[in-house]
Symmetry: C3
Subunit: 138 residues, 3 copies
């Protein structure tokens, strides 16, 4: 069995971090799949998907770490080529990854109690994003 | 076809790195699935899953790199909020990722000869972990 | 339904970045699968798989960032043990990840217009690589 759906959301960019766990959980419920794999992706090269405890302190720590790894005001060859100033966003997306798969068990994605699936929008402007969620299993 | 199982283990925390390849290989064998995808996850936000050559030098290099990226004695807002002192562990988990999928071919996960699947427990104490392994395919 | 194939390529090593999107797209087309999950992996511990806008500036930025995170001329315990000098490659592979899964929709991997799937060969010599692509779905 396969089920797919999408998650639409607006972001503010600049490492705007949004909790998409309720939507991912709902997709698994709607799929009717009890055991399998769910894969979540943002089509695009300036955002990332990972998990974290969705708590303001941990989110700030992640954002600050990415500022160190790929500073917003760094010198990027992408910017020199395109002049769109979001080289840091491309770099962060490549390092964090734009998709992530999770096991599904008992009709739910396998996540810890405080662990949430997040979209990080690294772009340097607000964006409308449409994520894809696919569930495969039975 | 879908098969799921779990891997229980005790860790010492503080980037304790454990080789879970035998258990992942066994899960694929037990599934009877010859071709498909296997997804491994630790439910929780203070551990990570990736692959490496399981050799003490490479493990030390990875541990030291994570100490630079997210130092244990760094200043974390998560710690300021919760006082549990494991902000570095949350950050490392978000960056490394808490789940990973691999192709399955010829009844085995697709891995190089020296490439091993590892759990990294970043938490600041010993933990009992129960990982989930799901295999989908035929 | 399950379909698997492989992608053979030669690399120059030293973070040689190759665009494997056409091959991944073709694998999904050849599978006949319209909806599901595609998983791409390099079996081995000195390469990585992720996505990026395949533009020379963004590629240079990623390469330079990895040089900072895991410098080629850094001091690695792996090198001390084995003398093969590719400790930086093992570290980069563990951090970037050697496999990645993407949703499949409408008979194609879910990717942005400018987003490409890449192999990064971090090893310190030219290599022949044989990647595995598995598609699961219907």
């Amino acid at each position: 069995m396969v089920y797919s759906t999408s998650i639409g959301l607006k972001t503010k960019g600049f490492t705007d971090i949004q909790n998409i766990t309720p939507e991912v959980r709902q997709a698994v419920v709607d799929s009717g799949i009890r055991e399998g794999i769910v894969c979540v992706a943002n089509p695009g090269s300036t955002a990332g998907i990972t998990t974290i405890e969705f708590e303001s302190g941990a989110l700030a720590d992640l954002s600050q770490a990415l500022d160190r790894i790929a500073p917003q005001d760094g010198r990027y060859e992408h910017n020199a080529t395109w002049g769109d100033g979001n080289g840091f966003a491309h770099l962060r997306s490549a390092l964090v990854g734009a998709s992530r798969a999770f096991p599904v068990k008992n009709g739910a994605p396998v996540l810890g109690t405080w662990q949430q699936v997040i979209l990080l929008d690294f772009d340097n402007r607000s964006r409308k994003r449409v994520l894809t969620v696919v569930v495969v299993g039975e």
